[in-house]
Amino acid sequence: MNERFDAIVVGAGPAGTATALTLARGGWKVLQIERGEYPGSKNVQGAILYADSLQKLIPNFREEAPLERHLVEQRVWVLDDRSYIGSTYRSPVSSDAEPDRYTILRAQFDKWFAKKAQEEGVLLICETTVLDLLREGERVVGVRTDREQGEVYADVVILADGVNSVLARKAGIRPELKAGEVALGVKELLFYSQESLEDRFGIQGDEGVAIEMVGKITRGMVGTAFLYTNKESLAVGIGCLLSDFRKEKVPPYVLLARLKEHPALRPLLRDGEMKEYTAHLIPEGGYKAIPKLSGDGWLIVGDAGMFVNSVHREGSNLAMETGRIAAETVIELKQAGEPFTERNLRRYRQRLDQSFVMKDLRKYQHVHEVLDQNRHFLTTYPELVNRAAETLLRVDGVDKRAKEKEVTRSFRKHRSYRGLFSDAVKLWRAFR
């Protein structure tokens, strides 16, 4: 193909579309290539959308984006086998502040987002898979797709092809995924009538609830679970490190089925019509897993660059943020008449270092190790705190002081004072 583009963006998830949209606004001729039938057709997410990064791109998105519910309540549950203890934060959105977190359905959201980019002039083609990067020497000059006459050239190629990024791996840009650096998330969508959801969660209108869960539900594997309210459905899912799934040999769907049967969840989920079961990888390696982010003629954004904050379950916003920053970087270079060399493109990383993306990832860089090496955080503690709550709350003629002693004893039995202390320190360090 003779035609040349200013940029080719591979993938139409949040990262790719944020990049393409920003570039097109900068007057660039952009070709965006997506392998799915339409943007979002294959994408999996919880899904919570954090408004900030999108707002920077489309300030009035609240008026037109396909949003499900805005979160007014966030619960955190620590579960043992039959009970949970948790905290709830609820704050109705005040009239002057706009909601900052929404649930979305990716199939709809991605389609809408891509449409916005198309309106800016991005040329999007779907059902087309990019197979290889084309190079001249070291420099990436285009891509090869699975279609006939499938080679197409551009000044710069942006990889936004998600966590697997076969492309980056094939090109040797990124090392193979390590099972300890990715989580496998499985998710189901269960359908209800709007009223029944509102009753179950005590919400109205567009209000929504998110429940994040940790504890024995992951059977000692490093992972978390979630339950989010959409307009007419609930998304329930669980994700654990791939290496743990392999080690424990528990199939993910079994874990999800058990989660749904947990006494704390069952009543919330009853009578739902299951529609969609999906599985997807989540990069969880954090800061240390971030690969080289650019080179001669290419940049990498979103999940492909392992940008996920697994502690806060933020991914799509980092995808948009990295996409936008990558685009702004190349736009600036072009305006300054500088070529897209490896050296010049390093500015992308420098800009990222200044942004919340890298700052947050750096902050949590040790969390996984700590959990990995201290499995009792995921098994023993949930049990202990749940039992403690049970002991303290039960009114059975035992005096309260005796109860407190009982609780302390039970903690001591499972963990020495030194152990307890060092656990506290470890956790504090990890999350500091």
């Binding site: 193909m1 035609e3 070709l31 039938e37 339409y38 057709s41 359905l105 199939a107 709809q108 040329l123 999007l124 083609i125 087309t128 797709t145 279609r147 006939e148 006459q149 499938g150 080679e151 197409v152 359908f191 009538s193 307009k231 007419e232 459905s233 009578d271 019509e273 529609k275």
Partner: protein, 294 residues
Amino acid sequence: MRGPNIVVCVKQVPDSAQIRVHPVTGTIMRQGVPAVLNPYDLFALEEALQIKDRLGGRIVALCMGPPQAEAALRKALSLGVDDAVLVSDRAFAGSDTLATSFALASAIRQVGQEQPVDLVFTGKQTIDGDTGQVGPGVAKRLGMQLLSYVCRIPILDMDSQSIVVHRWTEKGVQVLKSKLPCLITVLEGTSEGRFASLPEMIRAARQPIRVWNRQAAGIEDLSKIGLKGSPTVVGKVFAPSRRAERAECIEWEQDQAEKAVSLLWEKIRARQPELVEKLSGDNGGENGQERVSE
């Protein structure tokens, strides 16, 4: 000799595999159901494209639907269609097949103003309307010969304006010879679909889709379209009733399968004695022939 000028009617439909019915209220839950190009229309497109591969000419994809239906036309463009027209107007809302065929026929006449139309293709049926009535309706309105359920087009000769098709029926295939212009509804499974090249994909992504409102589609008479032009009226929509009783279940223990089966067989015999009578005669010989299952 000029190549044929072909119109292919395509519709955007909700992917009915993904439509859910609310378990309690029985209403349709359409949230998040993706829209697709009616799968049967892909066969119609492919038939048209094969003709164009052989004889040249031009293909216009025509769709009546809301603005989002553009996606279906874009897909048609990527497969190699030359031009796409979306007929879209609020006035069409609520059209049944009679009104739809009026609007499409009218639009096809407009396409014919640019260059006379030799062939119109439609799918066998849609997966939402499921009627298969629109194609024949359009043919009637345009006064074209109707060739329905076509599974093969062995001859198309532009010089003599003649065509030979194989028309599928339950018992066999009718070989029909006709004259252009005609309308063909294409049977499914007639051919493999095609995979557009990258340049074609890019061309399709770039090509503007013409959007015609009622007037542009040449429709003056409002009484023929939309709810007004639709003789049929949807009275009631409801979930299919389930039989009140569930099956009578034959309970059995692990290693007593044979007993269970024999009990079942007795019950069948009790309910359908004639059937079983008829069998007993002609069965004897087969004994012992059966293969043992793995």
